[in-house]
């Protein structure tokens, strides 16, 4: 049997396929999952926010930007956002003010560094639900640990229902969140401190800088990468908080701990106002994207300075 071999001349299309095939096959499974469970709902989210759908009707009535206009008339949204702003400010400043000195202390000790680090980091491993329940017990007006301790040290006058007090509830929840989060900051700062160039610190000391000056003018600038990181983490996290508030107060008393996360959940899943609920979730999306954008800009500027 005669077989004739013809030299195969690869067509440009075939060449193109061969060049791109391998790389594309590697990312394909991930891309499919991501497209179905992220990209598609994300786009649908934008569409839902332009309707007044209630989640049940077969027809989704298009209402244009009406939901977005209603955002500005929604006083409860304004209140929730103001709580988010407090959350972001206190929830960012407090863990840094607690975490940075602790990290400096830890970098200065010889024994037990890993032990302390592991212990401080422990609450970060726990879920928001557990943190919320532990602190719900600490704050309990009748059987709570905090009031028990206050009475024990003679400050019984200060004891109260921490989560029931409209002026305190938000800060009480933030304190619980900081407890759960500061260990993360300690570990990150400690890693940053271990990359600080001591020769520079020494040079500053020889030039007459005192300990505080060394810290603020030599060590902090070398930590800005890490500081930025923590800043953005808490910023994005501060706009998305849900778990811990839902467990501890469900937004109460009388909306005094309502945040945009809990408010969105209520509107979408308890009041079945899908159209307006997705509009609220779009607000959260935009806030997170703006925070991320600032982070990227900050980093790029730093990299320029660093060069």
């Amino acid at each position: 049997m005669a077989v004739s071999y013809r030299p195969v001349k690869a067509s440009p299309a075939l060449k193109w396929i061969n060049k791109n095939k391998a790389g594309f096959l590697f990312i394909l499974p991930a891309l499919i999952m991501y497209a179905i469970f992220f990209i598609s709902p994300f786009i649908t989210s934008i569409y839902y926010s332009l309707t007044n759908w209630n989640g049940v009707d077969p027809v989704k009535q298009f209402v244009g930007l009406k939901n977005y206009i209603n955002l500005f008339k929604d006083s409860l949204l304004g209140l929730s956002l103001s709580h988010n702003v407090i959350w972001v400010i206190v929830g960012t400043v407090a863990p840094i003010l607690i975490g940075l000195p602790l990290a400096v202390l830890l970098s200065n000790i010889k024994r037990g560094r890993l032990f302390f680090q592991t212990s401080y980091f422990l609450p970060y491993v726990l879920s928001g639900v557990v943190v919320g329940m532990i602190w719900g017990w600490i704050y309990n007006p009748l059987f709570g640990l905090l009031n028990y301790i206050l009475k024990g040290i003679g400050l019984g006058a200060l004891s109260r229902g921490w989560l029931g007090d409209p002026n305190l509830a938000l800060y009480a929840v933030i304190a619980a969140a900081v407890w759960g989060y500061f260990g993360f900051c300690v570990v990150i700062f400690l890693a940053g401190l271990q990359n600080v160039d001591v020769d520079l610190v020494e040079a500053a000391r020889i030039d007459g800088a005192n300990a505080l000056q060394q810290f603020f003018y030599v060590i902090i600038p070398q930590l800005r990468h890490v500081l930025n990181m923590v800043l953005v983490y808490t910023l994005i996290g501060g706009f998305n908080v849900f778990d811990i508030v839902q467990i501890m107060t469900v937004g109460g008393p009388a909306n005094h701990t309502e945040l945009i996360g809990t408010y969105t959940y209520k509107i979408s899943f308890q009041q079945s106002n899908v159209g307006y609920g997705t509009t609220l979730s779009m607000v959260m999306t935009i806030l997170s994207l703006v925070a991320s954008y600032f982070y990227i800009v900050l980093r790029e500027r730093q990299d320029e300075v660093g060069q």
Partner: protein, 291 residues
Amino acid sequence: MRTIDQTHVIYRNPLARARRFTAEFFKYLILAIVLVVTVAPVMLMWSSALKTKQEINKNPIALPTSFYTDNLTKAWTVGRFSRYSLNSIIITIPTVLGVVALSCLAGYGFARHQFFGKRFFFMLFLVGLMVPFQSIMIPLYFNLKDFKLLGTYFAMILPAIGLGLPFGIYLMQAFFRGLPVELSDSGKVDGCNEFQVFWHIILPLTTPAISSLAIFQFVWTWNAFLMPLIYLNKDEFRPMTLGLMFFQGRYTSDYAMISAAVTLTTLPLILVYIILQRQFLRGLTAGAIKG
């Protein structure tokens, strides 16, 4: 460059040594106080689980006088924590495996291959890092309903894999980029195809990155609350986080029962954490430190 770890000062002068000693003492004192604030609430929960309701309400700090295990067994059986812990495992393991497998493949593709639209696809995945779950939770609910997945474990597993990918891919591609290119070239010279190079040569070198990613994803999925709250609300599918919430609703101020439930949820996790502490610290701060 010298780093803090390499500075050692030896004090010969006794006065300087004494001063040094007090300084050390105060350092450790502050660290110890913070340690108590961090660890004591968890420990008190555990010890309360072994006390009766009356004991707890009388003195929340005192250690348990007898080894009272009724709360724990009641939470485990009547409180259905046996079921919830099983659910947590059923949800978490496939999610972690899925994220790790897909992230390794895609991370390698992004790090080591050229293909059409690579930059675009990479940016597409990065968007997922910046956007919160709330951005997609509502349409995803109706999608899952249409797919007939609502009321099965897949309603949580599949979206959790999809949402874990951006971080996973970002982490893995950064790691693969750090490996020398000569490795894969040598494999190709020896006649491996692209996948064989990946499987036999590259993958065995990535264990540290994989363990970081696996731990990160494990903690993230194990602790997830909003996602199961929306997608897995039937009692028989609830993971421990959700079980805890409903448990709290039922036993409002019964801290004997609540602390038992918290103990059942936290004790295994914290044991794993202590055994794998270095990996946890590395995994949960991965990405943050390298940035």
